[in-house]
């Protein structure tokens, strides 16, 4: 949605804001010309980077006159008053683009691994074996069984419980809710 906001009003000075102005230099020039041609307007400063249109004018010129003139050129879907919050898009994507692309990439890598191993391995198995192998190699070369720090142990303990006891936790949730 394209909206035009009356951002700030003072007698003789009005700031309008039209975020869609960004990347539309031609519209910026047109609006500057249109507003400057209004009787009582002394100076118009357009800043496309922020979508700001700062107008210095005679005190008799109202913000409504300026907003209507801007509306003719910019054709916004809505005009917002001072302090009114801009409308938010109701569309909330289910998943972020990065998450979607990452999931796709890992699916493709998984397919590559299965293809290369002729079905013997998939990505999950390969990573699991990799971790087990690295751990075993470490123990074999250092000849020590070093314990991880306490916070790792605490986290793994929690995750192991939550993963292995999923069914119990869900059924307990149902009992509590009932």
């Amino acid at each position: 949605m394209r909206w035009l906001q009356i951002a700030h009003i003072l007698p003789g000075r009005t700031r309008l804001r039209f975020p869609a102005l960004r990347g539309d230099a031609a519209a910026g020039e047109r609006i500057a010309e249109e507003l400057a041609a209004l009787p009582g307007v002394r100076e118009v400063r357009v800043r496309p980077f922020t979508g700001s249109i700062l107008v210095h004018h005679e005190p008799e010129v109202t913000s409504a006159t300026l907003a209507l003139a801007a509306h003719r050129i910019l054709a916004p879907d809505r005009i917002l008053e001072v302090g009114e919050r801009p409308p938010r898009s109701p569309d909330v994507p289910e998943l972020s683009r990065i998450a979607r692309l990452a999931a796709k990439a890992f699916r493709e890598i998984d397919r590559d691994v299965r293809r290369a191993s002729q079905g013997s391995l998939d990505l999950g198995t390969l990573v699991t074996l990799g971790f087990f192998g690295a751990g075993a190699a470490d123990v074999a070369t250092s000849r020590e069984l070093v314990l991880p720090p306490w916070f790792n142990l605490a986290w793994w303990g929690y995750r192991t419980f939550m993963t292995n006891e999923q069914d119990e936790i869900h059924s307990a949730d149902g009992v509590d809710a009932g």
Binding site: R17, R22, L101, T141
Partner: protein, 77 residues
């Protein structure tokens, strides 16, 4: 210098795996970089708008100060 074999092995495996999966992860890296640029751009716009809001506040303060000065003068006269 002593060679730590597991670290060496992990480095070799990480390098080989990285080279193998790099093309697959390129779109993800591209999207992350794009998101970073968009976020920094949005931050710059937000900062610029806040600067404009500050300019509005200062202009309002100036107008108010002038108005008060004018009314004080009128009262004195």
């Amino acid at each position: 210098m002593k060679l730590h074999f597991p670290s060496f092995l992990a480095g070799v495996v990480a390098g080989a795996a990285g080279a193998a999966i790099a093309p697959r992860l390129r779109p993800v890296a591209l999207e992350i970089a794009t998101t970073f640029y968009r976020a920094s751009d949005a931050l710059m716009v937000r900062l610029a708008r806040k600067r404009e809001d500050l300019a509005d506040l200062l202009a309002e303060a100036k107008a108010q100060a002038r108005r008060r000065l004018g009314s004080t003068r009128q009262a004195a006269a």
